[in-house]
Structures are given as C-alpha cells and as structure tokens.
C-alpha cells in the first residue's frame, strides 16, 4: 500500500469515525441520523454468533437445468418421450392450469461422486470433484416465471417492488471489515433483467449500495471500479492537486468551524484517496502465482474470463469485502443459461464456469477462507424436466430447482429437500427463496426478522413477512 500523505492524528481520527465517508444529514429519520453520526460501515456485532463473515454468490443467470446437473431423476429416463400432464408455471400464470408436456431425459450422464455419493452429471466434471464440499438444496422454489421478475426476486425478495438487494442488507447489517474498499461488490453485472436494481440499496442509505466492477460484456481483464484513476494527470501531479484541495477545504472548514457536513465531505476525499491507492491492488490478479492462475483456467479458453472474475472475488474477500457477487450472464432477454430451444448449449456455458468455480472452492479451502465464507452457486430458477413446446429446449421452472451452498456453518456433502420424481416441483423440505435468504442471513449471525429498516412509516426486511431458517443444513 502506498501512503502518499502522512496522516495527522486528527485526520486519522476523522476518517476512522466517518468510515466510507458517509454522513446522513437530511432525509433520514432521527434514528438513522444517530446511526449515521457514528460510522455506518463500521463492522457491527451481529444478532448472534455468526458462522460466516462474508458471502460469494456465483450467479448463473438465465437458469441452469437442475435435472441435467445436480438433481438426478431416473424416472426421466424411464418416461422419456411420454406426454404427461404438468402444472407448467408459465401456463399456470397465463391460464390458471397446466398442460400436457413431453418428458425429456437428461442430456448428460449422472454419476455418484466423492465419499458422500452425491449425484452430479458430466455437465460439471470439475464441480463434481467437490461434491463432498457443498450442500445441495434440491427443493428450491421461488416467485416469478420470467427472468425479470425472478431475477429481482432472487436479489431483492420481490418481483416488482423497489427493495434493497440482499448484498445491501448484509452490508447494512454487518458493516465492512475494510473501509478502504466498498462493502458490497458485484463483478460484471448485467444491465438486463432489473439491471442496477439487483445491486441497488433502494431505501437503505446509499453507502450500502453495491459497487460494480466492470459490466456484463466487458472483459474481466479490463474491469475495475469506475473513476479510480485519473486519465490526464500523473501521480505526482494529482498528488499536488490533492494537496491544494485539502488545503482549500481546510480553509473552508476554518470559515465554518465545527461544521459536520463540511467535515464529512473532507473525510470522503481522504477515503477516496486511500481507495484510489488500495482498491486496484485488491482487484489485481497479476501477482498471483502461475499455479493459481492455471487452477482457475486463466490464460486459456474458455475459462479465462470467468476465472479472472472468481479469482478477483477471492482477493476481494481476503481484503475484507463483505458480499461479492460474481455474475455469469449477459444483457439479453434470454440470458446465458436460458436454453429454450437448444439444451446442448448448456455445455458451452458449463465449460466456461465449471473449472473456475471448482478452483475457487479449492483455493478458499487451502487458504482457510472457506471456514467463514459462504459460497452460493445458483440461478434465478431451474428448468423444466420436459421439452418446451415439445421441442429441444427446456422452459423456466420456478417451482423446483437446485442451488448449492458451501463454507461457513454449512454441512458439507449433504443433499437437502427433494423435488417430485420428475424434478418438476419441490415437495420435500421445500426451501423458498425467502428461506434461503433467511438462512444466509442466519449464517452471518443476522436474524432475518430483526434486520429491519424503517421507511415510509414502517419496518421493512429482506424476507417481507416470510422466511424460515433452514437449520437442517447447518453444521
């Protein structure tokens, strides 16, 4: 870390007191103003003993087919090609009832893996090697049949209302461990399907909003936090300019002694300066060893891009970022895994993410980080066990799908819940997206019913009036 300016004691105190530089002055309730007067991003004591300190969410945008990957259903082979009645979610939303559909067997061969004997298909050979490291939840279900509503639900717990993202809630609940970095980061987010609302703070104070690193479509190698570098000044020129700014601001403060608002602005510059000099390093993977780069598939296709994103996520976690979302998706209306007509294309996506995801798990494990990091892998919904329109793809399936969780406080190597014999609807130990949110918060030491924010005259929470903590998956 560069320290271009020796900090005076006064500065040190100020910046520590003001954290990420936020001070709410207007438009906040008295309660929040009191909170903001201290440091809104200081690491906070959770409601109870946390099992994990941070989250990495690997978002598989578009909806991975669980029946082709983790949810093994022998019935699909037996009944392949048969026309059977299903309560198809899209048909139900549109007409109120289901329809006849042609059962389609998995396209990839399933095998039992590891000590635990969990079923994982050949779609994800690398992740399969880690079957003993994660807990597979087969009984997920959620709201929203189309990508937009379901993606917003995944991130904000609502299909349509303007609500904070789960990362913002976590940031609000726990603060950050490194004030020189944002507490909530999203790598290569998509502009589509809700775009910035998926990492927005909504009514929470802006300090809790997600900070984007790059955007979908921009190579990870070129991605950074915006405005972190000055395009026209050299370091020494900008340093001189910064000294002038500091002096001018001090003079303005002298004219208005004790003015907290001016002090807050001044502190935000100190922090910005430190971020500018620290954050690039947290994102820079160039000093990683060759074996690490190779493990993530960096420098080879098709894994280079997602490998970089995953490795960056590990570095940010190490540096103290609380919530890191790694996005595999794009900006289209049929994002990434959305194979309505061409299931084999799943393999193309799998080849890009499988190795890096496995590497991330191995890397976190070898560094001892997995113990207090939650890794969450999954999409906004799953896919149907039958062919859409009797074709060669699968439609969205919000009624039953699989995600996996690994790391802090989670029982590894187990499978929880089940879908019906086809993998269509969750039936046993169902876990709603609200439940998953509640469980993740719980692992972080936060009670989802107590993590509230007062807005519009009432308390809001991530899980609205729902959510059960799934204790059975906890170690």
């Amino acid at each position: 870390m560069k320290t271009p300016f020796p900090m005076t004691r006064r500065h040190a105190l100020k910046t520590v007191a003001c954290g990420f530089g936020y001070l709410a002055l207007a438009g906040l309730t008295a309660q929040n103003a009191a909170r903001a007067a201290s440091n809104p991003l200081a690491a906070r004591t959770p409601h109870f003993r946390p099992r994990a300190k941070r989250v990495i969410f690997l978002f598989m945008q578009g909806g991975v087919s669980h029946v082709d990957s983790f949810d093994y259903k022998p019935t699909l082979y037996k009944k392949d090609g048969e026309m059977l009645h299903f309560d198809d979610a899209r048909a139900v939303a549109k007409t109120g009832s289901g329809a006849a559909q042609r059962v389609m067997k998995p396209l990839w061969e399933f095998k039992q893996r590891g000590q635990s004997g969990r079923w994982v298909s050949e779609l994800f050979p690398h992740m399969a090697k880690h079957a003993d490291d994660y807990c597979v939840i087969h009984s997920m279900h959620t709201e929203g049949v189309a990508h937009g509503p379901a993606t917003l639900f995944l991130h904000t717990g609502t299909t349509n209302f303007i609500r904070p993202s789960i990362g913002s809630w976590v940031n609000y609940g726990l603060g950050t461990e490194n004030e020189n970095l944002p507490g909530f980061v999203t790598i290569s987010p998509s502009s589509g399907n809700g775009g910035p609302r998926n990492y927005g703070n909504a009514f929470l104070p802006p300090v809790y909003q997600g900070t984007a690193i790059g955007r979908s479509g921009l190579p990870a190698a070129d991605s950074t936090i915006r405005n972190l570098a000055n395009s026209s000044l050299s370091f020494s020129e900008q340093r001189k300019q910064f000294e002038l700014l500091r002096a001018i601001n001090q003079e303005q403060l002298r004219r208005n002694p004790g003015d907290q608002e001016l002090e807050a602005v001044i502190n935000s510059y100190e922090l910005a300066w430190r971020m500018q000099n620290n954050a690039p390093e947290a994102m820079d993977i160039s000093k990683e060893s060759r074996s690490t780069l190779e493990m993530y598939g960096i420098g080879e296709e098709p894994t280079d891009n997602f490998g970089r994103q995953c490795l960056m996520a590990r570095r940010l976690c190490e540096a103290g970022v609380r919530y890191v979302q790694v996005n595999y998706g794009d900006n289209s209306n049929n994002p990434a895994w959305d194979q309505h007509s061409n299931m084999p294309k799943h393999e193309e996506h799998a080849r890009k993410v499988d190795k890096p995801v496995a590497a991330l798990l191995a890397d976190l494990k070898q560094r001892g980080l997995l113990e207090d990091t939650i890794v969450w892998w999954g999409g906004e919904f799953g896919r149907t066990p039958y062919a859409q329109n009797n074709g060669t793809g699968r439609d969205h399936n919000p009624g039953g799908f699989t995600v996996w969780l690994a790391g802090g406080g989670i029982k590894p190597g187990i499978a929880y819940g089940a879908t019906d014999e086809f993998g269509h609807a969750a039936i046993e130990n169902k876990v709603h997206m609200h439940d998953l949110h509640a469980t993740i918060l719980h692992l972080l030491g936060l009670d989802h019913e107590k993590l509230t924010y007062r807005f519009d005259g009432r308390n809001f929470r991530l899980t609205d009036v729902y959510g059960h903590v799934v204790k059975e998956i906890m170690a």
């Binding site: 530089g21 936020y22 709410a24 207007a26 438009g27 090609g81 309560d87 939303a93 549109k94 929203g144 189309a146 937009g148 509503p149 993606t151 349509n160 303007i162 502009s191 589509g192 399907n193 809700g194 775009g195 609302r197 802006p206 300090v207 405005n227 972190l228 000055n230 395009s231 000044l233 300019q241 002038l244 700014l245 001018i248 601001n249 303005q252 208005n256 608002e261 001016l262 602005v265 502190n267 935000s268 510059y269 910005a272 500018q276 900006n331 209306n333 049929n334 959305d338 309505h340 007509s341 061409n342 329109n389 009797n390 074709g391 039936i427 046993e428 169902k430 709603h432 519009d456 005259g457």
Partner: protein, 956 residues
Amino acid sequence: MMPAIGFAADDGIEFFEKQVRPILIERCYECHSQEKKIKGGLRLDTKAGWEQGGDSGPAIVPGNPDASLAIKAIRYTDHDLQMPPKTKLSDTEIETLTQWVKRGAPDPRVQAGGTASGKAGMTVEEGRNFWAFKPAAKPAAPTVKDKSWPQTDLDRFILSKLEERKMRPAPAADRATLIRRAYFDLIGLPPTPEQVDAFVKDKRKDAFERVVDELLASPHFGERWGRHWLDVARFAESSGGGRTLLFKDAWRFRDYVIEAFNNDMPFAQFVREQIAGDLLPHRDAAERRRQLIATGFLALGPTNYEEQDKGMLRMDIVDEQLDVIGKGFLGMTIACARCHDHKFDPIPTRDYYAMAGILRSTRTLFNYTDNVARWIDTPLPLDPEAERVMQEHEQKISALNKQIAEAKAREKKASGTVAKATDMMVGMPIAAESLPGVVVDDSRAKVVGDWKKSQFSKSYIGDGYLHDQKTGKGEKTLTFMPPVAKTGRYEVRLAYITGGDRADNVPVTIFHADGEETVRVNQRDTPPIGGRFISLGQYRFEANGEGYVLISNEGTSGFVVVDAVQFIPVQELAKAQSGAANEVAQKAAAEVKRMEAELKQLREQGPDRPQAMSVRDDDTISDTQIHIRGSIRNLGQTVPRGFLSVAMQGPQALLPTAQSGRKELADWIASPENPLAARVYVNRVWAWLFGAGLVRTTENFGTTGEAPSHPELLDYLALRFIEEGGSSKRLIREIMLSRAYQLASISDGKKAWAQSSAADPENRLFWRQNRRRMEAEQLRDTILAISGALNLSQRGGLTIAGAGKIDANSTEAQSIEYGYQFTDTLRSVYTPAFRNKRLELFEVFDFGDINAPVGVRNASTVAPQALFLMNHPFVLEQAEVAASRALASGSRTESALVDLAYRTALGRLPTPRERDLAMRFLDCKENERQDAEARQKTLAQFYQTLFASADFRHIN
C-alpha cells in the same frame, strides 16, 4: 393443554386427541398458534381459532371437508394455498384430518385464549381528529413582541414560536449569498458575477422583490420547479425493472410539467389533468393534447411488463398508481393497506380497494394478453389546419397501404399459380445457399420423434425433406434455430412440399425476441412464394439469442411435411422478391416495390402524428373485491369504488357506473374543502425553499410521519394557497419575500447564534435558513454554466438520441438504453431519464433511483462522489473548457484569474489565505513550464479543485 374432560367416549374426542392433535401440534402450530406465530391471522390451537379463521375466512366447515379451506390447503390442489408450505403431509395424515372434519371436527380446545384479532392502529373515527385530516380554519397571525422584525404574516408565525422559546432569529444573509440562493432556488442556475454585482449595488427597497419577479418570469423557472414535481411523479423514460422498455413519448409529460409551472397552472387543474385529463371537457385540440399527455402521470411507473400473470400485473400497476397518488397528493402511504388494514394509519383495506376499483376500471395496458405487455399510445389531435393536413396525409398513407396489399395479393396469386416457374426451379432440388437470407435445411433441424426423410418429390431444398408419416400425432417436432448474426427484423418462411393428403393446420411457433407466435399452415395449398415457401410473418431476432421456429404435428390429421425454414432480413426482402416468377407476379412485385418506396418517402416527408403515453377508462367499469393478503387468487367482499374515508368531509358520493370515477377522485383531491392535498403541496414548496418541510416527512402525513413544527402556519399557507387560486408562483413569492427565507444559514460566530443553535440544533423552528446541498442536476448545470458549455436554448422535445423512429412499444429500443452515451450539454432536466442506465453523475449524487416518489432528495456524502469529482472525464473536460474560457476573457494576471474563478464557481472572492494558496499552486506550476499550454492545464486543475471543494457543493 386442555384435557378431554366431560366428553363421552364416542363423541370423537378420543379420535381428536389420539390422531388429530399430534398432527396439529407437529405440523401446524409452528405458524398457527398463540405460542409461536399467528400467520395469516389463523390460529389452530383453539376451536375458536379455526371457527373464526384467518384472513381468508373460516378454516374448517364441520362435516364438509371439500368446503374447508384447511383441507384444501393440505391437499395441495390449489397452487396458491398449500400447507404446510415446506412439505406436504403424508397421505395418512391428510386422510386423518379429512375424516376428522367429516365427523364434524370435534374439538375440546374451547377454553384456551381468544383469537388473533386485535388491531393496534387508529380507527377511521379517531383518525378524523388527527391533525392532517381535520378541516383547516384560517388562523390569525400571532402577535409578537418584536414588531419590527416581521416583514410578512408568515414571519409572525415563525417569530412567535421563537419568542416562546426565548430564541433569537439569525441575522439576514449577506446580499451576495441571498442572490445566489434565490437563483438556485428559482431557476437552478448560479448568477453570473455581473448579476451578483448589480444586485449588491442595487439600493432600492424592492431590489430583491424585483429579482424574484424576474426569475419567476424566466422560462428556466419551470425547468427548476418542474424538476421538483417530476421527482414526485417518479418521472422516467424507461420502465426499468425486469425487461426495461423505452418510454419514447414520456418527454411530453416532462415538458407538460415544465410548462405548467411556467404558466403557473392552478393547482386544482394540475391535479385534475394528471389523474383524469382524458375525462375532462376541452375547448380545442391544444387543450385536449395537454390533458391526454398529463395522464402520463399514471402510466410511467416502473412497470414489470414481463410479468406472466397478467392479473397480478394489473393489480401491481394499480398499487403503484395508488402509491404515487397517495404519497404525491395526499401524503399517505396507502399502499400499506393492500394486504391488511393499515397498521398505523386510519386506512382500512376497504378504502384501498375502494380506490383500487377506480384504477382497475382504468386501462393502463394496451391489452391483457401480450407475453410482454405494453402501454397505450394515444394519437394526439392537432390544431385545425395541421389536423387537416395530417388527415390528408394519413388518408394518403392508408390508401397506399390498401393498394400495396392488393398488389401483394396479386403477386401472391400469380406466383402461386406458376408453381412450376423456372427461377425457383420447382420440380428440381436447389441448394440452400442459392436462396436469399439464411436457409436452415431440415437436415439441420433438431428432431424430436420419428420423422422420415424423403426425396420422393424432387422439388426440395438442400438435402431432401422430412415428413411425420402421419403417425405419432402430438409427439413429433422439428426445431429450426436461425444463425442470427445481427439483431433485427426477419421475414420467416417455411418451405414444404404440397399435396392432397397433407395436414391443413400445421402449428408453427415462432419464438422471437418479443414473444411467441403460432401460425397454422395449410399444406394442401401450394406454397405461395415461388411454389416453395409460405411467409410466417416478420419478427425480431437477437444476435446469439434463443429464437427458434418450432413445427409440431400436434392436432394435425394429414401428413406434415417440412423442407426448410428461411430467415430473410427485411431490408433484403426486395431482393428476394425479384426472384418471383412470371410476368404478372413480377409486375405486381415491381408495383409493390415502387409503392413501398413511395410510402417510405411519404412517411419520412409527411408530418408524424404525435402520440402520448396515457391511460383511458376501461371497457368494463366495476367495483373491486378485496384481495385477501393482497393475493389475486383469494378474493373477498366487493367494495364500492370511493376515496379515503378518513379524509372525507361528507359521505361518499356515488361514482358513475359508466366511468371509472377518476374524475371524481381528482375533483375530491383538488377540492378547496379538502385540506389535505393543499397542506401536502404547500409543505412541499416550503421544503423546496428551506431544505426541510414544516412537516419533514413530505410523503408521510400519517401517524408514523412527523407532526408539523408550525401547524398554524401550515394551515395559514394552505388556505392562502387555495384563496389565491392555487398559484404556485404567488406562494413561492410570498415565502421568498419573508424575512425567514432571507436569513443567514451559516454562523456569524456571535453568542446569539450559539444559543439558538444549542436550543434547536436541527433548526426545526426555522430560526435560520438551512444550508443546502446542491442537487445532482444543479451540480452538473453549474459546472456546465461555468465552463460556458451549457446549452440553454433547447428547451424540451425528445432528447434521447436515436429514439426518433423507434416503435415506442417495441423492445428494440432497449439497446438504446443499455448502450446510451450521454453527450449533450442541455440542462439536466432534459437528460434522458432511463431507469436502468442513469447518467453516472446522477447516480453518484443521490439521483440514481427514480422508481418511487421523492419529495426531498437524500444528501449523502460518500467516497464515490469524491472519486467522481477527482477523476471523471466530464469534470476534467469541463475544467479545461472553463480554464480556456477564463484565459480568453482577458484576465491577464494569475491573481485576476483566481478572483474570476472564485467568483464564477463559488460566488465570492477568495479569502487572503485562499488567494495565497491558489497563487502558489499556479505559480509553482508556471515555474516548471512557461508555455501557454501548461498555464491552461494548471488553471484547469485549479478549476477542477474548486469544483471538488466542499463549498462548491453547498448553497448557503
């Protein structure tokens, strides 16, 4: 637990105790008991609990399992009512509970506690006495001890409170500060140094009054004050949310609001036009246009058009409209009552659905069936002469369209009858590559089921064709995926071999970027295009998208035969058509081509009929049922349409059966007898001039909001406002000419200040002005004004580059938003207001979220703001432009340049120490390199430093 005492052995109690109670305890109590939780208002730990039931009504009908909600829930037959939610009961458990209900649901648990009801909030009757809903009585201005201080009645209200608390008001702001404040407040731009000088020197008594009047008359007044209202109206130019759609015509609403403020439209009219403009009488086309455009207020919310459940989508839209009407005009969070009676405010769920009935009888969506829904574009009437020209033009277009259709029919018929024509070589195989566009041969289709390959008829494309052998109906499909390299519209054509034994209703589904479409093809007819193809229509496909064409044999009786699918970019169609065979067809095709060119020219040269995003009354006008817990599948009692009962002065008037009731709703809100809307509005105006309202929660006048600091002043201003005909300009003028408005905002260092500050640190009593943060638009406009780059001449119109000829209801426009480059230098009120892609400066400076009504902007201080001002190219560029402008102004010495920079950027001269700092920075740089370029670069850095300085962001 209650023991089963006093019941005979055969009354079913033993059955209950042994078999039923354990299931209830194990599987139901977690969410439905006094000890744990009472979800949905339902208790199952007492008999009275299930008898009374929860929000959906009684849970059990003794003796009738099929009519019992609880049994329905455990059977999992209803998608929306499945209990327990996590895991279905076993079949044995379900059978046990069903038997129990069948036997009359014997239940000994009669002595345990009561039921779940019990409401904490205020009743409607109690609510009528709450300050916000009470009728306003005009209070007399209080008498004050210091008679010399007040300039207006308003001042007496302020001073009287201060005297009560033995506080002294702050001294007046100095003149340079005051004029800067007035400029920013009224037009959102800084005064030039010359304007400051002129005012400081103007010793006339009414000098400030003159400035205020001049600024109120400026066209920039509407740009500043319209922006305030646009915040409340959550104005945006795209839908955001799921699949964002571009609101191509939303700018008309923005311009309407700006104009309304510039013309000082009476408030009542402003309310009526936005809620019910389409239902109002009008004298001429201009008035009608304005009224229709105004209803955009209801249409431009963050609607999730992609929601598949259109019933839910409708209620979500109604909810959003109630939210913006409630917060915007009534200061009420009505939307809380969607699922249950308002927990705190006197708003019963009945009231919500009474108002919802009005909006549910209003149509906001074009239809209720589109896969991705769309709003309503209403063509606008023009002034008589323009209308005459327009109608002539439209008639020409429709006549031409008719001729084109006729010519196309001739062409189709002709090419159909010459199926053996040579240029499509019917009767012989041809290569796919020889045809225009992209041809996907059947050999490249994804095949489901047993299709038979054939080359029996030689008239095929590529490598033979496929047929379903007339067997396995409903089991076979073929999927054709277009290798789309470029996003755009394509004509999709199917090639097949015709015959008398073919199916006459082959379902072909086109899954395109905007939805899906199923076309039925009669394969007994000769393919009309060259004897080989039939057109399936034109659709948009995205590059590397998931579009496809799926042919099924479902529901068919004859042979289904498929040869190929062709995708032709529409712009290449003309080329494709030239391939049509005989003379008649060619002649017709040539005519079509000529007329289409003519049509294109006509469209380009002729006038465009303007359209507005608007709402209208729906075809069916009806009252709405209460949606229990907000669910569209759990309907309760029907509620007659009406307004907010707690805020009504008299009984609810009956609403018309032939109209939605929006007009009556607007009349009620705008009525001089209704004090609520006027209170909410004058409070907003106060907040926009002081940085905080008399009620600081500008959107919440309910019990969870804050009470007014000066209730009498609020009523005084509200009644004055009504008396003055709802004139915003007069209200603003009255407030600005008060002494209270003109007070200093920062300390003079005197003892009195310290005392007042200690007594009222939050300035609830307005003993001083509030120093305010520059809002995002002021920040941008000010930087542009200083650099001289601000373009003040274009005021209004469509400002989204590239959106001119886009179909407003197409998703094509989406890419405009995602890839938008913000390059204009118009005032910020005209910056394209996309919900998913904001101008970065807006996003960073508390103007990122435009999804919900906002009365007072947040004022955060975060590091990304500092990074923006330090490093963003916009700031760097504008600082350079400002520096070169300063150098060109003729200021010779560095000292003069420093003075000029301070005066233009901060509205004041530098202090001696500031000048010293600046001189050292500029000199030290100059020593390094003496050339003019270096001088300009250094000066640019200096300007940028001033933009970044703490004072720049504040208005004193």
